[in-house]
């Protein structure tokens, strides 16, 4: 569904991605793990065209989306919950969700809203509250909910566990699984929390310094010695 081949992305003269190949198939949950500064977020941003890839190609559903403007890429059916959530703090939860549906077909609005409220009941309670007054976990839910409002076929999640309590992280990951299972939304997720995200994912990639070093199913990666040493045992080696 999403095919990334030999993508190089630059920030000025600095090469952040040094030839990345990733395949995400229809209906999968794919996790990309890696240390800080490996280029995970850059890859997600490159998929959305900001910054655009300087070399290489990105296809979505057989359509080449490399270097197309962001809004066109998004309208093809990709939604992103960006790093740091980036909800609209002065707008209410409901207005945030409405904005998520801005590019979607108007007739599906009530359905999408109902679906998001079923996944995250707290958002319904908080509907008239300003986004900025939500807790971190609720903001993350809102960010994912907002992304879902456009009825995407591919959902990009950038560190949904960032700065959240373990309980909340588990809850969010459960919902991510539910989104994938019940609605058939393909999910490509970037995470630091390697253990939980690999357990959840069908397949995973490990990124080091702008390159993909390892790939395999979630279970394989969890069992892999290198991965365990680098990402799972917290530097105890």
């Amino acid at each position: 569904m999403l095919k990334i081949t030999d993508v190089h992305t630059y920030y000025g003269a600095i090469e952040a991605l040094k030839g990345v190949d990733i395949d995400v198939h229809q209906g999968e949950i794919v996790t990309l793990i890696g240390a800080n500064g490996a280029g995970k977020t850059t890859l997600l941003m490159t998929v959305c065209g900001r910054p655009p890839a300087r070399f290489g190609h990105i296809w979505f559903d057989g359509v080449e989306i490399t270097r197309r403007p962001t809004f066109e890429i998004i309208r093809l059916g990709i939604a992103q919950s960006p790093e740091g959530r980036r909800i609209f703090p002065r707008m209410t939860v409901f207005e945030n969700l409405q904005l998520g549906a801005l590019t979607a077909d108007k007739s599906g609005f009530a359905d999408s809203l109902e679906r998001v409220y079923t996944l995250f009941p707290i958002l319904k309670q908080r509907a008239d509250q300003r986004g900025g007054t939500l807790s971190g976990g609720e903001q993350q839910m809102l960010s994912i909910g907002r992304a879902l409002m456009s009825r995407p076929r591919l959902l990009l999640l950038d560190e949904p566990s960032l700065g959240l309590a373990p309980m909340i992280v588990k809850q969010i990951f459960r919902v991510v699984e539910e989104i994938n299972r019940d609605s058939g939304v393909t999910i490509f997720m970037v995470e630091q929390n390697a253990h939980l995200s690999l357990k959840l994912a069908h397949r995973g990639y490990v990124m080091v310094n702008g390159r993909i070093e390892l790939t395999g199913t979630g279970a394989e990666l969890l069992a892999n010695e290198e991965v365990r040493a680098a990402y799972l045992e917290g530097g105890r080696h």
């Binding site: 959305c48 900001r50 403007p69 962001t70 809004f71 998004i74 309208r75 939604a79 992103q80 960006p82 980036r86 909800i87 609209f88 703090p89 002065r90 707008m91 209410t92 409901f94 207005e95 409405q98 904005l99 998520g100 801005l102 590019t103 319904k124 509907a127 008239d128 509250q129 300003r130 007054t133 907002r146 456009s150």
Partner: protein, 497 residues
């Protein structure tokens, strides 16, 4: 132990309050002497055979004494003796109002000084008496502002009703109508600029450019093609919108300060073009004799209609009065302003308006939602410019004369102050700020150039007390459960913090 230390420090090392205050007062007086002697003390007067210098030592002495007294009072106030300072200010107010000062300006400074010092002492006294912290006091002000915002539900229609009835009141003379028209023009400009600054969050420092394009569009179309106001009004709006698009394109990639600086440049470019294109725009001479608007093309506001013209007072069987045209202009700008307001209220509920607000809140998130930022920025630019153009055409027809003088950066700054001080994005805030910033100085017009003091004072007071704007509360456009009042929302938000 510590009490002993502080007690001994208080009695030995700290000089008494009076000494500090006197010292401050003398120092202030000395500095004042240093400045006023060359600036105020000497004046060149035209005498026979050239200029001669005249001394004004009395003025110097009075200003030095005023500054010294003021500094003394402020120093006392800062050290906690607010009650005597307040009393002094209250006594000083009538005294300075009655005393024969050598010039009007000094008297004004003295009166204003008493008022300001009195207010400061009063506030400090209040702060001493109440046990609230600064944050709690700010929150209380926020809640008060939220109350006002809620009151706009019924206050808005009341204010509109008042604005409609105003020209019909017996006390509505020429001067009041003139001020009303001016304030309404700025309210309209403020509402127009609010779209780009308040909603889309793009700091436009050159809004006056569109105002100028609108004004010159009408003036030039009328001058060269003899077109009527009613035909030119939409054209002026259109041309301004086109100007907005043209200026919008190059700044699309910029944001923040850079964006602001470039728009500032555009504002100046338009003015400089108008100033230098002498053959076409008349340059610094401006354009005079701009035709006044007719009564929707049906009648003219004139005493003796020429040819086949119909006079307004004949049409309605009234006695001729020059006020008729003023009243008509007043209603015209009122309607124009209300159209802008209505448009903004509506567009906030529509996808375009929501996209603008998303852009203001977080432009990266905005892009990630599939919003085409280029097109919505251009839309904000051109729509905002269009309203500015309408206001400009109105300005031209009201003045009958325009020149580049009217479209300096100061105008942009005033319009922007109205938007920012009113609370960015708040429609009511614009009205309140326009009343304060335009109404006050206009009311004090007798004080000539010193009336700008009122403008400055209004601005400083707002910055001190409401740094985020008078009514900085963003009202949601839609409610799922039940509409909550701004006050209620604020109380809940404050409770959660």
């Amino acid at each position: 132990m510590s009490a002993q230390v502080s007690a001994s420090r208080g009695s030995v090392s700290a000089p008494p309050i009076m000494a500090i205050a006197l010292h401050d007062g003398f120092l202030g007086g000395a500095v004042a002497l240093l400045f006023t002697l060359p600036l105020v003390g000497f004046r060149t007067v035209e005498a026979l055979g050239g200029l001669s210098i005249e001394t004004r030592l009395i003025e110097v002495a009075v200003s030095v004494v005023l500054v010294a007294l003021g500094r003394f009072a402020l120093s006392l106030n800062r050290q906690g003796l607010s009650l005597p300072v307040l009393a002094g200010a209250l006594i000083g107010l009538p005294v300075s109002a009655l005393l024969p000062f050598p010039t009007m300006a000094l008297q004004l400074i003295s009166v204003v000084g008493c008022v300001v010092i009195g207010i400061m002492a009063g506030l400090r006294l209040y702060a001493q008496r109440s046990h609230l912290t600064q944050t709690e006091r700010t929150q209380r002000w926020d809640r008060f502002a939220a109350h006002i915002q809620d009151a706009t539900f019924w206050l808005g229609p009341v204010a509109i009703g008042f604005a409609i009835l105003l020209p019909l009141m017996p006390f509505a003379d020429r001067r009041l109508l003139d001020i009303g028209i001016l304030i309404l023009t700025y309210i309209m400009l403020g509402w127009g600029l609010n779209i780009i600054v308040g909603l889309a969050g793009l700091l436009d420092l050159g809004y006056v450019a569109f105002y100028a394009v609108g004004a010159y569009s009408y003036a030039l179309l009328a001058f060269y093609f003899d077109m009527s106001f009613w035909l030119c009004l939409p054209l002026a709006g259109l041309l301004s919108a086109v100007a907005g698009l043209l200026l919008g394109f190059p700044v699309l990639r910029l944001r923040g300060d850079y964006f602001a600086i470039v728009t500032l440049g555009f504002g100046e470019i338009i003015r400089v073009i108008l100033l230098n294109w002498y053959q076409f725009t008349g340059g610094p001479d401006g354009i005079s004799g701009i035709p006044r608007p007719s009564f929707f093309g049906l009648a003219e506001f004139t005493r003796r209609p020429r040819g086949d013209e119909v006079a307004f007072h004949h049409m309605f069987d009234l006695d001729f009065s020059t006020l008729h045209r003023m009243i008509f202009l007043y209603y015209l700008i009122l309607v124009l302003a209300l159209v802008v307001n209505f448009f903004t209220i509506r567009i906030r509920r529509m996808p375009l308006g929501r996209a603008w607000e998303a852009l203001r809140e977080d432009d990266i998130a905005c892009a990630s939602l599939g919003i085409n930022r280029v097109s919505i920025k251009l839309a904000a630019f051109s729509i905002s410019a269009m309203w500015g153009g309408f206001a400009g055409a109105f300005f031209a027809t009201r003045q009958g004369f325009i020149s580049p003088e009217s479209f300096t950066f100061l105008e942009s700054a005033i319009i922007l102050s109205i938007v920012v001080l009113g609370g960015m994005g708040s429609q009511v805030g614009v009205v309140v700020a326009a009343l304060v910033l335009i109404g006050l100085p206009e009311w004090f017009r007798e004080l000539e150039q010193y009336r700008m003091l009122a403008f400055g004072a209004g601005m400083v007071l707002i910055m001190l007390w409401r740094p985020r704007g008078l009514l900085a509360h963003r009202d949601p456009t839609i409610f799922l459960h039940k509409r909550k009042s701004a006050h209620q929302q604020l109380v809940e938000a404050q409770a959660r913090q």
